[in-house]
Amino acid sequence: MIKDYWHRVCRMVREDKLFSSIYISGTALSIAFTMVMAISYYVKLAPIYPEANRKHTLYMKHARFQEQQDEASYDAGYSVRAVEEWFYTLKNVEMVSAERSVPQGSYVRLPDGRGELQVTAKFTDPAFFKIYSFRFIEGSSLSESDFEAGTLTAVVSDKLARVVFGSDSCIVGRTLKMGYKNYRICGVVEEASSLAEASYAQVYVAYNRKETESMGGRYGVLPYMGRMEVTLLVKSGEQEKALRKELADIVRRYNASQDAYRLELCGQPTSHFRSVFQDYMSETSLLDSEAVRSLLFVLCVLLLVPGVNLCGVIAGRMESRVAEMGIRKTFGASRAVLLREVVNENLVFTLLGGMFGLVLAWLMLVIFRQWVFDMLNPFPGNKFIGSSPLVSGEMLFSPVVFLLVFFFCIVFNLISALVPAWLSLRQPVIKSMNEER
């Protein structure tokens, strides 16, 4: 039966090349654009190198200090004091890492007077390399002793090592001049894609406590406000709940200790999933996010509009099969059986179109990678200007991607084939058989 079915479909493709080509092209286009959107967000959400623990990673980027006397409030990061007193002492957490936000790029001095190179640098701590699973080509991560002592050591990416030193081997122990400071390289890692935003950098160095503290705003008035952001790794949902309780206790103790300012965490720590879609700290629901609303709108129209479009094509196609359906009804085929058959036959075309669409989506993601991954971001900042993010195989060829394609194909097939087929099969048998071909 499956063989007959398959032969019938192949015959249909050959018989009506016009219908086949239009249907498959329309489906491919719709699936391609849908998959571009879906993969761009999949890359931000799924575990990719080195952010393998995204599911259990939480972020605390801001705090709000609300003045009690008037309505003024200050949204900023945390100071080194806050990091050491509140976060490094947390009990319900696997790992805690803090990093200093760097508003402008850093510059590395190229040897032999070749000038300077702008790089992305992270000023962090040794725990950073325990949260993110970097692959070390040489050496090791920042050490606790160097961090405590304030020694200038750095971990660099392999690509940067090749640009600066001409090679990515025998780099450990060499000196990197960045920001007019000399760092001793202690490790070389495989460079991550800039799409892994939380962990991407070309140089990783330890933040200097004293220097970082002096950069904090309103120091003295708000000693816990500064420029640090904190990343937390938990092992399970239960630990996350306990962590939130512990942080709530910290907030309560702080607010009870003074009455000038009220500390609010605004729902933090934020899960990775939420952080991808959240535009502002104050958004309580994902639907408040412009990125989420834009994504839902775009996905709906990308499937719905071409689906309605192809309904017309299928309605025309069904007309030529009305007599066939009429004869089969006289032999006892029920409407449900015929409907299922028509929808399944169309599913073959949809899957063919889906395959072409997926290949087209891959091509679009690679060719337009400079801007397509940030297309729905309302505030991209200066992230990708002039840079081409690395798009790796694990991002494009994941099983989840194929499952998504299959799911969208099913949805698309239902939208485009179900209604016109059902309407066509409603006709009485006599009328179907007498219908002029």
Binding site: Y107, V305, G312, M375, P380, I385, P420
Partner: protein, 415 residues
């Protein structure tokens, strides 16, 4: 023929309903995606109000190699020395010191509300820009003054009036109803009520950002405590290329053009600065997404129309042969089919636009104009809602008509 077209459309309504539905959906979506693109193109076509040609922003950085932090005063002094050295270069016409958020072309610009003595309850929201007296500010930016106002040179030198400000034409009209306001007083809301600033000059309108409409602007010399280093704006002489100048600076910056721990990090022509600002604010992304969606829907619509009308011409072969036998030419038949498409598109666009109009009235008519910023914009052709809606609807209609006619012509020419 029009009656025949309507009869044909009605008799095939079962097949045409899907196309019609799709045309309505695409009309609404096309409106959403075409509107920002049309607005951006319109805004970019407006004069900037200042001359961005050969204007460059010079960003400075500090050398922290000795791990010693200079005071802000020391760094400011170093910046002034660099500015003086740049002024001495033959390629440079003029040099200004500007502060971020009070300068044309930067990402964030201060805002405030000003009122007048006679209209204290109707303040006007405006951008606030700061300039330094005696530094040829208006000449460097190429901002022109209105007749009846002092010349740009006089305004730059500074009229000896305490708290003197310069305003743009649109601000003057918004607050006073006329642009002859030299000598009138305005007050910044939120400040001391007795503190008035005197208008010493009126200049032509400027656009603070490349993507936005003309806005009200007040230029003041009041230097608020700026806890930041200034950056340098340079006007190059005629015939000097910004890229060559940038290369020359890069070669010299470590030797001749540094002072103390300050040195020149980069030079950015104002055109590039505008593109960067548009990107950071998501304007570029939005336009790219809109264009990508527009192309997608038009191609998709074209495929659907080609498919539908190809089936129709196949089904209507007998009818077409009969018409040909009665003397109808191929041209007549193609015109009839195109006519069916035109009528369908016209009806669908009308329905789609009316449906979207209801939505706009619910969310507020300013939502179609204030896409990227609120409140400061002066009246332009796009501030008239009816005009704005009509223009964009017409553009959508023309686009859809072109796509549908192409989709019909491809199968129809085979008849």
């Amino acid at each position: 023929m029009f009656k025949i077209i309507l009869k044909n459309l009605w008799s095939r309504r079962n097949y045409n309903v899907w196309l019609f539905l799709e045309l309505i959906l695409v009309t609404v979506i096309a409106w959403v995606v075409v509107n920002p693109v049309v607005q951006l193109l319109h805004n970019r076509s407006l004069p900037l109000g200042y001359d961005a040609d050969r204007l460059c922003l010079i960003k400075l950085d500090s050398d922290w190699s000795e791990d010693v932090r200079d005071t802000l005063t020391t760094r400011e002094e170093a910046v002034r020395i660099i500015a003086d050295r740049l002024q001495g270069m033959e390629e440079v016409e003029n040099v200004l010191l500007e502060y971020y958020s009070t300068s044309l072309g930067t990402e964030f610009v201060w805002r405030g509300k000003y009122s007048s003595k006679f209209r204290p309850d109707s303040p006007v929201e405006t951008f606030q820009l700061i300039f330094q007296k005696g530094k040829k500010y208006f000449e460097t930016f190429g901002i022109k003054s209105l007749p009846g106002s002092p010349s740009p040179e006089q305004l730059s030198e500074g009229i000896n009036v305490p708290n003197g400000v310069v305003v743009t034409r649109s601000f003057a009209i918004a607050l006073f109803g006329t642009d002859r306001v030299v000598g009138d007083s305005i007050s910044l809301c939120g400040q001391n009520e007795d503190r008035y600033s005197r208008i010493v000059g009126v200049v032509e309108d400027v656009r603070v950002r490349s993507y936005s409409d003309v806005a009200t602007v007040v230029f003041s010399t009041d230097m608020y405590p700026m806890n930041q280093l200034p950056h340098i704006v340079v006007r190059l002489r005629e015939g000097v290329s910004p890229s060559l100048f940038s290369e020359k600076i890069a070669a010299q910056s470590n030797r001749e053009l540094c002072s103390g721990r300050q040195f020149i990090r980069s030079i950015l022509p104002f055109e590039d600065l505008a593109r960067q600002t548009e990107y950071s604010f998501g304007i570029t992304n939005e336009v790219r997404l809109d264009i990508a969606l527009a192309v997608f829907f038009m191609v998709s619509l074209c495929l659907g129309v080609v498919g539908s009308f190809w089936f129709q011409t196949r089904r209507r072969k007998e009818e077409i042969f009969i018409m040909r036998s009665f003397g109808a030419t191929r041209r007549t038949i193609v015109s009839m089919l195109l006519g069916e498409g035109v009528v369908m598109v016209t009806m669908a666009v009308f329905v789609g636009c009316m449906a979207y109009l209801q939505y706009i009235h619910q969310v507020g008519t300013q939502s179609i104009r204030e896409l990227w910023e609120e409140g400061f914009f002066v009246d332009s052709c796009f501030s008239n809602f009816t005009f704005h809606f009509t223009v964009v609807s017409f553009i959508v209609y023309v686009l859809l008509l072109a796509v549908v006619c192409l989709g019909i012509y491809i199968p129809a020419r085979r008849t």
